[in-house]
């Protein structure tokens, strides 16, 4: 029975058990997320100082992707967890991003070709 308990304890940390980061790491990640959010708010005014709209959009999207990656990798532990979970999440997220791009291109094309009556 003791052997069984030991076996169970071992298995509990096997495929999806992870070497959890320390409290300090979590706090450091939070500080980085906070700073990125502050930069995002400032970046929202880039066009007001004469920078082109595309530069503002690209900056904001890159910053939000960076925030998302940090949350998923550290707070959701994907960096330390089974690769299967990463694959599962990436599959859904990848399809989702692809879907947004296709929809935006499709509607932009329909609008520019006069196919969309507004």
């Amino acid at each position: 029975m003791a052997e069984q308990r030991s076996h169970q304890a071992e298995l509990a940390h096997m495929p999806q058990g992870h070497a959890a980061p320390s409290t300090r790491t979590y706090i450091n990640i939070f500080v980085v997320l906070f700073v990125i959010t502050a930069i995002e708010v400032l970046a929202a005014y880039m066009t007001d100082i004469g920078l082109p709209l595309w530069s503002e959009i690209v900056t904001l999207i890159l910053l939000s992707v960076l925030k998302g990656v940090l949350v998923v990798m550290f707070y959701m532990h994907l960096r330390f967890d089974s690769r299967w979970f990463t694959a599962l999440f990436a599959a859904g997220f990848g399809i989702a991003v692809f879907m947004v791009i296709v929809f935006l291109l499709l509607w932009a094309y329909k609008r520019s070709s006069g196919g969309l009556v507004v």
Binding site: Q8, L33, V71, V118
Partner: protein
Amino acid sequence: MAQAVAHDHGEHGAPGGHGPTGHPPTSLGLNNRKLGLWTFISSEALFFTALVATYLVMKPRNLALGGPRPEDFLGITLTAILAFILLMSSLTMVLAHHAAEHNDQRGIRLWLGATILLGLMFLGGQVYEFNKLWSEHFVTVTITEPDGKIVREGIAEHHLDAELAELQEHHPGATITQSAPKAVTWTTSLFGSTFFVLTGFHGTHVAIGVVWLTVVLIMALRGAISSRNSLTVEMAGLYWHFVDLVWVAIFTLIYLI
């Protein structure tokens, strides 16, 4: 007896043993509950993306139909505060999970309680924002050019006088008519419909997360959470972090851009 031990302590589904739900482990050696939650999160990513895509696709159409301009009504300050609150809650959530893994009973209760409180603060902020929007109005102005071309503009009621004067200056000879003021609700414009559905669903997810965390907190107060079943806290945490992740996207795509 060995089987009973496996049921009592087999929190993680594992090869050769059944988890607490009595289900056999997956052939990948992954925990069933966690695999199920990640599958759910993946499907939720698709769900929210559909709502975000709808908002973005409809944004120019809303403007062409004389709907309200989002920048006239959506403030960055409040939503930046809400983003900060959700980021804070993600930190407290992960600290609750960390405490559970280390069997720190006080930590589990403290950080779960803090996460719930921050979740409620976020919901309060969202209710305030929705109320504010519903109490504001916009007017659809129709400009008919002398050549018969029609252009529509949605103008916030508090900018109306200044913008009407500008329109008359920029469209000499055009006939300008205006609709009665309409509240910014989910039935008066494409902006309202897509915005309230998207942020409303997100708020609903936050509310569900608060209920879930409250259940886990009650379990913790009864001493039912320890390092042996820290997965219970981790599951709630994964869902909570995903809700935060959705706000990261909404904050950028809806409020900042």
